[in-house]
């Protein structure tokens, strides 16, 4: 089975939705046309747009292919600026058929390129998936495309992955204690996004609402939803893959103060007298809604 390594994180949000939907179909068409008895090497594809081209072209790994989604004028300008760097172009209103053709074209060109060499240059925000994985929806695509083991707040490229890791296994792993974000990391989303599949529930929307209205740490997020911490981490992973998550690392602790000061109470611990304080509007509304649901036959 031939493989396709996809890097679409450099694609701006305006193009990501269309691409995520059409790619799923196009990749299936493309795979169906592959001769099953012929084992082809993997193809690494970077999907970019005019806005992200400078950064993506600079950072892409050697030997990878670049697909530019842009108007003809933008593509002409990009080709003038980076000769021989753009392998294919699609207009912003491309169809599934056009995308499938591009995949076939690149697949032919990819003959002879080695997967492991390209994987070595995989960067933190890239999205990697084997196209032979059955994808149920766009969220699943992003989930599989995002490696949970990546550091939470990193600006530098990842260290090289283990050389013998097969691409087909480069899917998300369940959240584990070792993969938790740094304590105190705060999360926010840049825009609302429609979650689908198992993440289409009200609790998940509450989670998004909490993050769109402010920077929240994991404790606050858990407090504002009915979700388990592992599920929150899973959602964060999807949002990270979609490129809508903003993560703010906690300020570095001052060692002298940290050594001299006893362990501070947990951020969410009740303050003295809080028990006698009036509930905030959030609590009041939440409680009323909960009570109303309990008594509502709907």
């Amino acid at each position: 089975m031939s493989e396709l390594i996809l890097h679409a994180a450099h694609l701006s949000e305006a193009h990501q939705l269309r691409f995520s939907y059409l790619f799923e179909v196009a990749a299936k068409h493309w795979r169906d046309k592959q001769p099953s008895q012929t084992a082809k090497p993997a193809t690494e594809l970077w999907v970019i747009d005019a806005h992200s081209a400078p950064d993506a072209i600079q950072n892409r790994s050697h030997g990878s292919f670049v697909l530019l989604i842009a108007t003809d004028d933008q593509a002409q300008a990009a080709r003038a600026q980076w000769p021989d760097q753009i392998d294919a172009q699609l207009p912003p209103d491309y169809s599934v058929g056009r995308l499938t053709q591009v995949l076939e074209h690149l697949s032919v060109q990819a003959h002879g390129k080695r997967l492991r060499e390209t994987l070595k240059n995989r960067r933190q925000h890239s999205m990697t998936l084997g196209h032979d994985v059955q994808l149920k929806n766009a969220d699943a695509a992003f989930l599989k495309a995002t490696d949970l083991s990546l550091p939470t707040v990193v600006a530098e490229p990842l260290p090289e992955p283990a050389a013998d890791v097969p691409v087909a296994n480069a899917t998300a792993v369940p959240a584990a204690p070792g993969n938790l974000p740094a304590a105190g990391t705060r999360f926010r989303i840049k825009r609302w996004t429609q979650l689908t599949g198992s993440m289409a529930g009200q609790a998940h929307r509450q989670l998004l609402a909490a993050m769109i209205s402010g920077d929240r740490d994991l404790d606050e997020l858990a407090d504002r939803t009915q979700l388990e911490r592992a599920e929150i981490l899973r959602v964060l992973q999807v949002l990270r893959g979609k490129g809508v998550l903003v993560e703010t690392a906690p300020p570095p602790a001052t060692p002298a103060v940290a050594l001299a000061t006893p362990a501070p109470p947990a951020a969410h611990a009740a303050e003295p007298g809080a028990a006698s304080a009036k509930l905030g509007l959030f609590r009041q509304l939440s409680r009323w809604i909960h009570q109303n649901r309990a008594s509502d036959p709907h």
Binding site: A14, A210, R283, Q284, R287, N292
Partner: protein
């Protein structure tokens, strides 16, 4: 002790379902201000709201949440401005199949931001739309700096779905603790 009255407002074009949504949320504690609709060119429905629709939700023994539905016609924008000035939350209802939907929604969100006390704004897609259509609308709306808000989908006739919408507003609020 003084308890400031808490209010949210429902905004949106004529006929989108603001009156219905208040009825769904507040049940018998709703007062409607509908009169025969004389502007059948704008919308074919038989009645429309003048003044403000109004409903109440008893949060507890002391506090009440008031829900206002603003008339959708542009000529009543002064009513909308007044209601927004009193509210902490706004639900902007929209039919994303309407060619004017994006422009109307952006305009209403900007009006919400101009209000002094608004802490939570939610866009409510009040007509059936596919997930892809909703996401596309969300992405386009979010391209405007002031419009980074939740975009939900609910049937105004469905109390449970309207509760979900209110729940999202609750999730956006600061969890302030007020001293007695």
């Amino acid at each position: 002790m003084h308890h400031p009255i808490k209010r949210i407002v429902l905004l949106g074009p004529m006929g989108i379902g603001k009156t219905t949504a208040i009825r769904s949320l507040c049940g018998s504690l709703a007062i409607e201000c509908d009169v025969p609709n004389l502007d059948k060119q704008a919308h074919a429905k038989e009645t429309t709201t003048v003044g403000l629709d109004f409903g109440e939700i008893k949060l507890d023994d002391e506090d009440t949440l008031q829900v206002y539905g603003c008339p959708g016609q542009e000529r009543y924008d002064f009513v909308r401005e007044w209601a927004l000035s009193l509210a902490f939350g706004a639900i902007v209802m929209v039919d994303i199949h309407d060619p004017q939907a994006m422009e109307q929604t952006i305009n209403l969100i900007q009006q919400c931001h101009a209000a002094p006390n608004i802490q939570a704004i939610v866009v409510l897609i009040a007509r059936p739309a596919s997930a892809a259509q909703q996401e596309m609308f969300t992405v386009r709306l979010s391209a405007h700096a002031e419009c980074v808000v939740p975009v939900l989908s609910a049937d105004p006739r469905n109390p449970s779905q309207m509760l979900d919408t209110l729940d999202i507003i609750a999730a956006m609020l600061p969890d302030e603790v007020q001293p007695r």
